[in-house]
Amino acid sequence: MNPYLLTQLPLVGGFIFLLFLASINPFRKEGASTLIAVVALCSTAAAIWFFLPEGAQYFGGAIRVTSVGKVIAYVCLGLTAIGMVLSEEYLDKVRVNGIDWRMVVLALALGMVNLCLANDIATLFIAYELVSIPSYVLAGFSHGDPRSNEAGMKYLMLGIFTSVLFLLGLSFIYGATGEIHLVAIHDKLARAVEAGATGDLTLAKIGLGFLMGAVLFKVAVAPFHNWLPDVYQGTNLASLAIISSPVKVAVFGMLGMLLWGVFEPLADLWKPVLLVAAAISAVLGNLQAVSQTNLKRLIAYSAVVNAGFILLGILVNSVSIVVFYLGSYGIMTLGSWAALMSMGTNQADVDELSDLAGMGRTHRWSALGLTVILLSYAGIPLTSGFAAKFGVVLEALKPDAAMPPMTLWVVMLSVCGGLVSFYFYFQIIRALWLQSPAPESADRRLGGSGLRWNYAFVLILSVVVILSLGMFVRLPGL
């Protein structure tokens, strides 16, 4: 059997198993389906580890296994599994059908794995769509909730609007090179740049513009980020955990691999684009977040800021830094959702900043975990957030990094933006620890002060990962 299909088998099998499970009526399915999904995700990762040698190609070159792709696939699968654990009780609480939800997430995971390993335009496109469309579905999953309706619809509208442009970009690139294998496209482009073939090159560049624009939209970098806060605000937390963490990691991984693996001959062109996008992200994300009081929107803006940093990391072509950043960012995000989930009650999630007031007393451990995570977001030393940002900045400022001329200013802008971001992260910390809860919300919280195991697990995991990555990992260049 083709070893590549072997890696798809757990996800496919899990999907089908869940499908059967859904039809068995008298059965408590929440825990079982979580278990199945987690096992499927983990065994996919194991299968990738065992069966896919590096550099192997499958299906006539449609799939090419690279070390970067594998690492990003592991990160994505791991984050998805954690998100799955996180959803265990919450979905019940928001009355979402858990099995449906998990099937969608498994399909999404399938898309992510293939996105990381795709090597031709067709596979890339389909995998990209298999990451995108389930995301829209997840965003709108709580279909009785007006906000979720809006988030799903908005995400879907803008998403398919840009994925059409994505396809347009692919079409132009295909038209300019005539190749569908990404490696071959890279070679063609390199030859075209050498030969100075203007017509083809122009077409390829325009195609690259559409392609990049669509992907930058998907990762919500600044001028393309306007959908993100709205979608975050409307989506339920479990779906958000998937959308905001593994999906983002996968698409960022794809962006990096595309830019450096395929469009590397055009690097002089797209480097300034990334730089400008990073700069705008730093400015706009931070400034829009400063006066924000809605927690999900706040974290959305911080996602924009972090996306800017990741772009800088991609720009310097440091795989280790980018993977480190993505991993730590993913786990941080999951941890923050876990904290918010554990603080909510059966009636309502925590939503506004003021809802967090006094949580340091009523939900001590969640608040503590959230504090560590926020410190990491803010980039306080000893946390992985700091290590990642510091690593990116160091790499970008290396004299031999071949960066565009304005890099120094952008880096300074990003760092200053980091200072601004202290303000809103510490607003949250202040609300947690220093404010007393409003009287009517105090009795609202009396019920749920125990920390469920899955939230506790994810919180502890993320705090441990944050601190251990922050303290013990030595990145090259640090």
């Binding site: 999907f15 928001v94 969608v104 298999l130 709108g140 017509g199």
Partner: protein, 215 residues
């Protein structure tokens, strides 16, 4: 290889029809009519595909696109809006009192943006494409069913399309699950009574008002 004038004229006419009916799709008020106009645009498109030696694609365009997907649209529009009245219908046309791009001002802004973008990009693309434009060289049997079927079905264990089709099958499954999930009325009704995930705040004035009003 000079292009035969029949081909040219067919192409020109088809392009005209495509453009006009597409424009009509985005302009007419009646949604059913817009859907039908899109189908009208698809027929000359498939004609162009046939000119481009993609007969199979042209057939797919009619069968799948016009026949199935557009039916989906028509069906939904019919279901939602059995008696369309312009301006008032929920599925209605392009006019509206909401701020932003509505009314004349909206039309102007939209035209300006689209026009500017077209003016920016179209000449560039045209120029670049004409630089690389050569007379088409196609292999014998290009676009014919036998050739495509060879491409699609040859050596499935090693065919580049295997993965794509695996993935698209899952995509369709996701679509089905989503549709199933969204159609669960029970959940939807239960949730409408006390909105659970998020509390309505002042950000949603319209919703609050409507939630209070009996329908």
């Amino acid at each position: 290889m000079p292009v035969s004038p029949v081909v040219e004229i067919t192409f020109a006419l088809s392009a005209l029809v495509i453009l006009l009916s597409s424009l009509a799709v985005v302009l007419v008020k009646n949604p059913v009519r817009a859907t039908l106009l899109l189908i009208v645009a698809f027929i000359p498109t498939s004609l162009v595909y046939i000119l481009l030696q993609a007969a199979f694609v042209g057939i797919l365009q009619i069968l799948v696109y016009a026949g199935a997907i557009m039916m989906l649209f028509t069906f939904v529009i019919m279901m939602i809006n059995p008696s369309p009245k312009d301006g008032e219908s929920p599925a209605g046309g392009s006019e509206g009192g909401e701020g932003g791009f509505s009314g004349m001002r909206g039309a102007l802004i939209g035209l300006l943006v689209v026009g500017a973008l077209g003016a920016l990009l179209l000449p560039k693309v045209y120029h670049a494409a004409s630089q690389v434009s050569v007379a088409p060289v196609t292999k014998p049997g290009f676009g014919e069913l036998s050739s495509i079927s060879a491409l699609l079905f040859e050596d499935p264990a090693n065919n580049p399309l295997t993965v794509s089709f695996e993935l698209i099958s899952f995509l369709i499954l996701v679509g089905i699950i989503a549709a199933l999930n969204f159609s669960r009325r029970k959940g939807a009704e239960a949730r409408m009574e006390n909105s659970i995930t998020t509390r309505p705040t002042e950000a949603l004035p319209i919703l609050q008002r409507e939630a209070l009003e009996p329908k």
